[in-house]
């Protein structure tokens, strides 16, 4: 794409000069400044794979940014992360002030499936990639990667990553009926009340009815271990 644009520009310039000189012989030649070179585009193709047995992933959000991480172990979740981790809604995070570019998968990604999105920026200072999505058959578990540095990735280079599971710490892992938005329950998603530790950590895993949590709507199918998601990043431009 970049090379094509470079080729087209001089051709257009030549045509305009010819047109001007033939239509008005008396005036001075019009000097047309060459157009500024187009800003360098960084375009990445992101392919996500759901590696869990029975945890659909909510629409996966990818953001490019310069600083500010979406989460930090030991610190409280932002309201945008809380909303995503409890309900799967990534709209608030995608519009966060530090985000310079974003992309999201269109739908929930079922277990065993893959989906690809493209994210693009011309901001060479904002090439930190962060990814986040909810494991929807949980209270507030999410998976993703924080601050992947893409600045040294050349066109054609690829990067393969796996994503661990974190707990947003904003909702107790009751696994109770009515508290889980995924198909295992169909319960409530977001609730602004924080009734858990209020810091982000690795997730301890789900327990489930089969493992003795009598009030759980989850069963052995919903268990998971790390990693929950595969990520392939290819710089395509």
């Amino acid at each position: 794409m970049f090379n094509i644009k470079q080729c087209i520009a001089p051709v257009a310039l030549a045509f305009s000069l010819v047109a001007c000189s033939s239509s008005d012989d008396d005036s001075d030649p019009i000097i047309i400044d060459p157009p500024p070179p187009p800003p360098l585009e960084y375009q990445f193709e992101l392919t996500f794979g759901n590696l869990t047995n029975a945890q659909p992933l909510s629409p996966i959000l990818a953001v490019l940014h310069q600083d500010s991480s979406i989460w930090t172990i030991g610190e409280a979740s932002s309201s945008g992360l809380e909303l995503l981790a409890e309900s799967g809604d990534n709209s608030e995070l995608s519009a966060a002030s530090f985000v310079t570019a974003n992309a999201t998968t269109a739908d929930v990604l079922p277990p065993g499936m893959t989906e690809t999105v493209t994210i693009m920026t011309t901001n060479a200072d904002a090439l930190q990639l962060s990814l986040v999505t909810m494991l929807v058959n949980t209270n507030d578990a999410f998976t993703g990667n924080s601050m992947i540095d893409l600045s040294s990735l050349m066109v054609g280079d690829s990067l393969s990553l796996r994503s661990a599971v974190y707990d947003a710490g904003t909702e107790a892992n009751s696994e109770a009926s009515g508290t889980i938005p995924g198909p295992a329950d169909g319960g409530e998603g977001f609730n602004s009340m924080r009734d858990d530790v209020d810091y982000v950590s690795r997730h301890p895993g789900v327990v489930g009815l089969d493992d003795g949590l009598s009030s759980s709507v989850l069963n052995n199918e919903h268990k998971f271990d790390n990693p929950a998601m595969s990520v392939m990043i290819v710089r395509v431009q």
Binding site: G49, T52, A54, D157, L159, E221, F224, D225
Partner: protein
């Protein structure tokens, strides 16, 4: 320094891989406490081949490994792509915390390393490494491996003996530690995710005479990673 080498090799895979023949010394350690690995199959192959790929269906050859520990079909398949293969380096089962070491000479172009073995007792769980790019630079590299579910058999967690080994037959062929139960009713009778995925772990229970599972929830569980691989590139 070694960590940096590992990261570079893992992340920018196309930049640092050598297509030349190499001499490798490979050590595999079973990091679990109570799970056995069936005979390992370790192979260097080109980038067009793989033993398994997550989010895709397992091949018949992989299913034979994951359900019954049978590496013969995979060995035949790898021979057809001119892979360099080490079979059964431990001379049988590799018990929890056990280590085995092997040498692998790779041919030109066989720059990807893959490893698989069944984990016992599971229905179709296996430890796997898929196409790790072998670095060109001499050094010692460490890789941690996860446990996968082949997606081919329901995790009923019933230990049924040899009948459970062949592909398509339900049940777990063996619990080599001799510490499993019997007469369980079965956890599930169907497979939810039919593609290769990260194993959700065993459930088990604490009743060796019945209940749902023949596995012991106090013994037959694990968390990733389940194996450590050290590769010395000469």
């Amino acid at each position: 320094m070694k960590t940096k080498q590992l990261i570079t090799a893992g992340l920018f895979s196309l930049c640092s891989v050598s297509a030349s023949a190499q001499e490798l010394t490979i050590t595999v350690t079973n990091l679990t406490q109570g799970m056995h690995f069936t005979p390992l199959i370790v192979a260097a192959h080109d980038e067009n081949a793989s033993m398994f790929t997550v989010t895709t269906e397992a091949s018949a050859e992989l299913i034979a490994i994951a359900e019954g520990g049978d590496i013969s079909g995979m060995s035949t398949l790898l021979a057809t792509v001119n892979a360099d293969v080490v079979e059964n380096p431990a001379g049988g089962l590799l018990a929890g915390a056990g280590t085995t070491e092997m040498n692998l000479s790779t041919a030109d172009g066989n720059q990807m390393l893959s490893i698989t073995a069944m984990m016992l007792p599971t229905n179709d769980g296996f430890v796997g490494l898929d196409s790790w790019p072998i670095p060109s630079e001499a050094g010692t590299y460490t890789i941690l491996l996860n446990a996968y579910d082949a997606g081919s058999e329901a995790n009923d967690e019933l230990v049924v003996g040899d009948a459970g080994g062949p592909p398509g037959n339900p049940g777990i062929p063996a619990a080599p530690g001799g510490n499993a139960g019997a007469n369980g009713t079965g956890i599930v009778d169907s497979q939810t995710n039919g593609n290769v995925h990260i194993h959700r772990g065993a459930l088990g229970d604490d009743d060796l005479e019945g209940r749902q599972s023949d596995l012991d929830s106090r013994i037959h569980r694990w968390l990733n990673p389940v194996a450590k691989v050290t590769v010395v590139v000469e």
